[in-house]
């Protein structure tokens, strides 16, 4: 048992930090967020080809580096801290994870090398009009005839859905509900019958889309996992993405704390730095507590996620570890970001200062993949029913 970073992991963290501090500046974030596309495509290409971050946890046989989920989480934490605008989360934490968990060998060999060389982006769509995050969320319909499948339905809140090259979509057989009858497909985003519409969001640093499938016809090669029995796979993919989101939230929590401490030290009122006032210090102390506790939860969840890929003993803890991390990190980040505005006083209320970007990200990441209450109820079901 070793619950601390190795030298290599520390190096990955430091490299990520120095790269992001250079490229993800306030003005870079603002340029990206003002565009419908949502990221700087040249920067994304540079990240993919020079740094290769998107290939971190993809096995070497598919062109990746074959590192683990802990390494991935280390990078996500930094991306959350620097509010990095990119299709990393959608492509890696949704797309690549879905392929790794549910893809056939042919699908993995087809798509993963393209993700690793930076030529392909991907995302996952499963939540329909209901806007929930569990199995009931899936309301697109699939019907099988001969060797083909016909997909119909609509998805909301799809991360980078308007820009991704490949979509992994969930659909269910008509007249099924809950966990039964769900299938997964990997489809070309430009396939006939696919309509994608950009959904403008309050947090402009993460882009979402509305996707409609109108009689989209795919063949066997698009099917991921077992037909009408893919919920266990989708569930695993969702939990892995949930942990990834929590990792970004930890980085954000740290950043708003750092900004607040720096600002309050600088800001002088009543002839002294306001960081010296106990009311300010105690608020900052609580922010640090929430950040460190969140970090412990995410690192543990990352280790559990790794065990899922290694078929380790703790793989069975995935759902609980994801809910523990997401509930704590979601609410902690949101509270920290709100406190950060308060500690910044008037300037925290301006568009010019970056605090509001984090406040908005805290909310968008809180409601994405289930908020704190949702994940507490997931845990309650395990404990109490």
């Amino acid at each position: 048992m070793e619950f601390s970073f190795t030298e290599e992991q520390l190096m990955i963290r430091d490299t990520a930090q120095s790269f992001l501090s250079e490229v993800s500046t306030s003005s870079a974030i603002r340029n990206a967020m003002e565009s419908e596309w949502g990221f700087d495509i040249n920067l994304w290409q540079r990240l993919c080809t020079q740094m290769g971050w998107q290939a971190t946890h993809i096995p070497e046989e598919y062109g990746g580096f074959g590192l683990g989920y802990v390494e991935l989480v280390i990078m996500l934490e930094q991306m959350g801290q620097y509010l990095f605008c990119s299709p990393f989360f959608s492509t890696v934490c949704l797309g690549a994870n879905a392929l790794l968990v549910a893809g056939s060998e042919a699908q993995k060999h087809n798509y993963l090398p393209q993700i690793c060389d930076g030529s392909l982006t991907a995302t996952l769509a499963y939540t329909g009009r209901l806007g929930s995050w569990d199995a009931n969320a899936v309301d697109a319909i699939v019907s099988a005839k001969d060797n083909e499948y016909v997909l119909n339905g609509a998805y909301r809140y799809v991360p980078d859905g308007h820009t991704a090259d490949v979509l992994i979509v969930a659909a269910r057989n008509a007249d099924t509900s809950g966990k039964s009858g769900i299938s997964l497909f990997v489809i070309d985003a430009k396939a006939k019958g696919v309509t994608r519409e950009y959904l403008p969001t309050m947090d402009q640093t993460k882009k979402q889309a509305h996707i409609v499938l109108d009689n989209v016809v795919v063949n066997e090669q698009a099917l991921m996992g077992e037909y009408a029995n893919a919920w266990p796979l989708l569930d695993k993919i969702i939990n892995l993405a949930t942990i990834a989101t929590a990792a970004e939230q930890v980085g954000g929590s740290q950043q708003v704390l750092d900004m607040s401490v720096a600002y309050t030290k600088e800001r002088v009122q009543f002839g002294r730095s306001i960081a010296g006032f106990q009311a300010v210090k105690h608020q900052a102390a609580d922010m640090m507590l929430r950040t460190e506790v969140a970090r412990s939860a995410v690192y543990y969840a990352a280790c559990v996620a790794q065990e899922v890929f290694d078929s380790g003993l703790l793989a069975g803890e995935l759902e609980e570890a994801a809910s523990v991390a997401k509930s704590y990190c979601s609410d902690g980040y949101f509270k920290n970001a709100g406190d950060a505005i308060q500690l910044h006083g008037g300037v925290g209320f301006t568009w010019e200062y970056d605090v509001h970007l984090y406040f908005k990200r805290a909310k968008s990441s809180q409601v994405f993949l289930g908020n704190g209450a949702y994940h507490r109820e997931c845990v309650a079901k395990i404990l109490l029913d």
């Binding site: 048992m1 619950f3 601390s4 030290k265 640090m288 412990s296 280790c303 523990v324 507490r376």
Partner: protein
Amino acid sequence: MKLSFSKEDEKFREEVANWLHDNLVGEFEKLKFRGGPGDEHMFPEERKKWESKLAQGGWIGIAWPKKYGGRGCSIEQQVIFNEEYARAGAPGRVGHIGEGLTGPTLIAFGSEAQKKRYLPGIVSGNDLWCQGYSEPGAGSDLANVRTKAVFDEASGKWLITGQKVWTSLAHESDYIFVIARTDPGSKGHKGLGFFLLKMEQPGIEVRGIKQLTGTSEFNEVFFDNAECDAQDIVGQPGEGWAVAMGLLGFERGVSTLGQQMQFQNELNEVIVAAKDNGTNQDPMIRQRIADAHIGLKIMRYNSLRMLSGNGDDGSLQKEALIYKLFWATWHRDLGELAMDVLGPEAEIVSAAPYELTRMQALYLFVRSDTIYGGTNEIQRNIIAERGLGMPKELRPSV
């Protein structure tokens, strides 16, 4: 970063579990899940016997070096021991202050003579220790110690005079360590000494403090020219603060994992109660129970981080700084949750005049958690100052 234990460690786990299974029986059966916070006054004699039993098995001082009678266990093995100990429901340790505080302090700061004289009694489970830190005028401001130590040339002994307060288990203990002022007229953390005293002597009087629980785990200890042998000052006169602070560092060790298992047992009891009375279907209660479970899980992860961290430079890591504030607040919330789960039944005590149920004792006793060992407010000051580099509190010049 890796969570699984090695094969040897799993073998060790089996050894611990088997030993507890074979020995926590017969006269010790009734001690299961007893003696925790709020219950520390229960079965003192039987729990002292249990200490001897542990000693026979070689389970006291497992973290100590072998040359001092310990087992020299790795951090992993210490984690395992604490987990299995609590899983088996083994009782709260009456010897934890000697094992966890006195021993490590003497190993780090004590003379060879002190080690020889005191460590064997701790490892054998014979000698129980208590801690003489707080005073009526030295609570959060611990350095404001007034208790005096005067060296008496005639008898060749230190004579200690003053009062300590909030001393757990003082009435059961054989020895006490005390910080007292060796330098008359000194103030703050300068001019203190760290002394080891026998409890049974004419100059020491113990009075129980009746707490809001109606019970008395805590005591006042009065010193009136109490004697301490010349060789029983740890470090030099005037260096007591460094020793005292070094000792506080040992409080954040592996034992926190055992404490968490105790918390787990308490939470399990709350869950059983909720299932029994149907509040497990109340959406608000469900949220709070889940939140408690989540908090406890993360507390464990945080401890594992604390224990695995290298901290080579001796500085406290951030996850260690927040630990006390986190667990104390969590525990206080658990007490409130327990009462809300019980509803009107929460009011009914076990027996007249004032015998509390375990959950009532928990609910009341946890109000001390956010006070002793550094209040939540002091913890926040420490986090802000040491963890975040914010300005120190203004102190009137002394």
